[in-house]
């Protein structure tokens, strides 16, 4: 983290088109999400019975859906849901991964075997169906989805951080820290994790994209975010029945998902170059 703030890293960032494009895309999307009430021209759940399935026009930039709701406004509000699910779910996964991976890597032996074999078992499950099953039992609220996606995607970060810590803990400066009287917890938190965070950060950025896709998939199957709350996935599923006559309801949410994922992937790619 600290390495990123260093002057030379900032210079390197400037020379890195992936990172710049990624940051611009995600910056605009996040701004739109935060300022949704100001950006969107209509209330996202305002039903206009006079204007059902209107194609894109100056009045409705991206057209209206089968209930006459403004598609642009719904996409803007939907970005709040999709982005926050992506970020929070990946936040949970990365935190858990850091904790378990660092523990396994640092203490090794029994705890390592226990944690990593558990991770292997989790990786064997088809995650999507596991989530489907859990959501079917619990109710599919936004918070449940965040937590469930988080709880089923910590294995990647955990493996990464474990590998990093396994090699870092043999380095001389860790011995020096111990000689200076640092406790295990301090060595892990203040010295090992900051040195290992780079690849985890790249992974987390990619993971956000993955979580957004997962949420869209879940919502598409009706087990994600429930209408009338708009998320990109459930706007897409509503478009299914009118696909033949109203192409815009399918195209634009799809594009929104595509651009967001592309943005996060660009950032991840760029970060990889800056950190690595």
């Amino acid at each position: 983290m600290l390495m990123l703030i260093r002057g030379s890293a900032i210079n390197e960032m400037r020379k890195n088109p992936y990172l710049i494009v990624g940051i611009i895309i995600i910056g605009i999307l996040s701004l739109a999400a935060i300022l949704a009430p100001l950006v969107s021209p209509y209330d996202p759940s305002l039903i206009d019975s006079q204007g059902l399935l209107m194609p894109p026009s100056p009045k409705h930039w991206l057209g209206t859906d089968s209930l006459g709701r403004d598609l642009f406004s719904r996409l803007v509000y939907g970005s709040r849901i999709s982005l926050s699910i992506g970020i929070i779910a990946m936040g949970i996964a990365t935190f858990l991964g850091l904790l378990l991976g660092a523990w396994a890597g640092f203490y090794g032996k029994f705890s390592d075997t226990l944690i990593m074999r558990f991770a292997d078992i989790m990786l064997c499950f088809p995650t999507f169906f596991l989530i489907l099953a859990v959501v079917a039992i619990l109710e599919p609220s936004i918070y449940n989805i965040m937590i469930i996606i988080g709880l089923t995607s910590w294995m990647g970060p955990a493996r990464l951080i474990r590998g990093e810590i396994l090699s870092l803990k043999e380095r001389e400066f860790i011995q020096a820290e111990r000689a200076l009287g640092a406790t295990d917890a301090r060595i892990i938190i203040r010295h090992l994790i900051p040195n290992a965070i780079g690849p985890v950060l790249v992974n987390a950025t990619l993971g956000i994209a993955g979580a957004i896709l997962l949420e869209s998939g879940l919502s598409f199957l009706g087990l994600g975010v429930q209408p009338p709350i708009p998320s990109w996935g459930n706007i897409l599923i509503e478009s299914k029945s009118t696909l033949g006559i109203a192409w815009w309801i399918t195209l634009f949410p799809g594009l929104a998902i595509l651009v967001t994922i592309l943005g996060f992937n660009f950032i991840a790619e760029g970060l990889k170059k800056v950190i690595g």
Partner: protein, 275 residues
């Protein structure tokens, strides 16, 4: 710089006493006896050199003193009496309190012993906060004082630099400053100048001795170079294949080396002198 004749070592107060220390390494299929019954002592304000060839067990002995051995090594038997307490009886928390605060280290490769992601200023402040209840700002001010103490001139640049931006000699000064942050009673210097060139080596040795005079700690200096021992120490222990084979006052050992390994070490540096 020669101090060899000033102290006899017997009338002084004991700081550290190691009795019959044995350290084993558990390798894949065999057990290696790295240290086989070492006895040594360090008095207050004394400079003691632990000399020996590579692999003689001197570094392992030094690491055993604060129990920072690698995980596959273990202390099999012995006593390490520091200020009247046997360190081997301490629990991990007590041990962390001793390390850095009572016994500090300086290592061979200064650059790789500093954390690459923190600036020098933050790194020294870390250690201060670890042992003393100071605010971050106070700790940073103290870090500045410590760097002044080790004779670093462009303080502002060094404080905000990362270890890889500084030279080896500079990093060694930084590391010494860090080790002395909490005014330890004993400083263990494990070949602190081996990776530096000769002029820097002389500067670092001089600095260590000056700081020792000023702050009054004891110095256990590990080296394979008896020329250094002659310059800085009161007493010398010579290790060979995991055992202390000779112990003598510095003033005597060069005239009457008893063990053949001591003779070899003396011959080695005289040979280099002739080139």
């Amino acid at each position: 710089m020669s101090q060899g004749h000033k102290v006899t070592g017997k009338s002084m107060e004991r700081l550290l006493e190691v009795k019959n220390l044995k350290v084993d390494f558990q390798l894949e299929k065999q057990l290696i006896h790295a240290v086989m019954g070492v006895d040594l002592s360090v008095n207050k304000n004394e400079t003691v050199v632990l000399a020996g060839e590579s692999g003689s067990g001197k570094t392992i002995t030094a690491l055993a003193l604060t129990r920072i051995l690698p995980p596959n090594a273990s202390i099999v038997s012995g006593e390490i009496i520091f200020k009247g307490n046997n360190i081997l009886d301490f629990n991990p928390k007590q041990m962390s309190g001793v390390r850095g605060k009572n016994i500090a280290y300086v290592f061979q490769e200064p650059t790789s012993y500093l954390n690459p992601v923190y600036t020098i200023g933050d790194q020294i402040a870390e250690v201060i906060i670890l042992h003393q209840k100071l605010q971050r700002r106070e700790a940073q001010a103290r870090a500045r004082e410590l760097l002044e103490q080790v004779k670093i001139n462009d303080l502002d640049r060094v404080l905000t630099s990362y270890p890889h931006q500084l030279s080896g000699g500079m990093n060694q000064r930084v590391f010494i400053a860090m080790s002395l942050a909490c005014q330890p009673d004993l400083l263990i210097a494990d070949e602190p100048t081996t990776s530096l060139d000769v002029t820097i080596e002389a500067q670092i040795l001089k600095l260590l001795l000056e700081l020792k005079e000023k702050l009054g700690f004891s110095l256990l200096f590990i080296t394979h170079n008896l020329a250094i021992a002659r310059k800085i120490s009161h007493r010398v222990y010579v290790m060979y294949q995991g055992k202390v084979v000779e112990e003598a006052l510095t003033s005597e050992i060069f005239d009457h080396p008893k063990h053949f390994h001591t003779q070899e070490l003396i011959a080695a540096y005289q040979k280099i002198g002739k080139i």
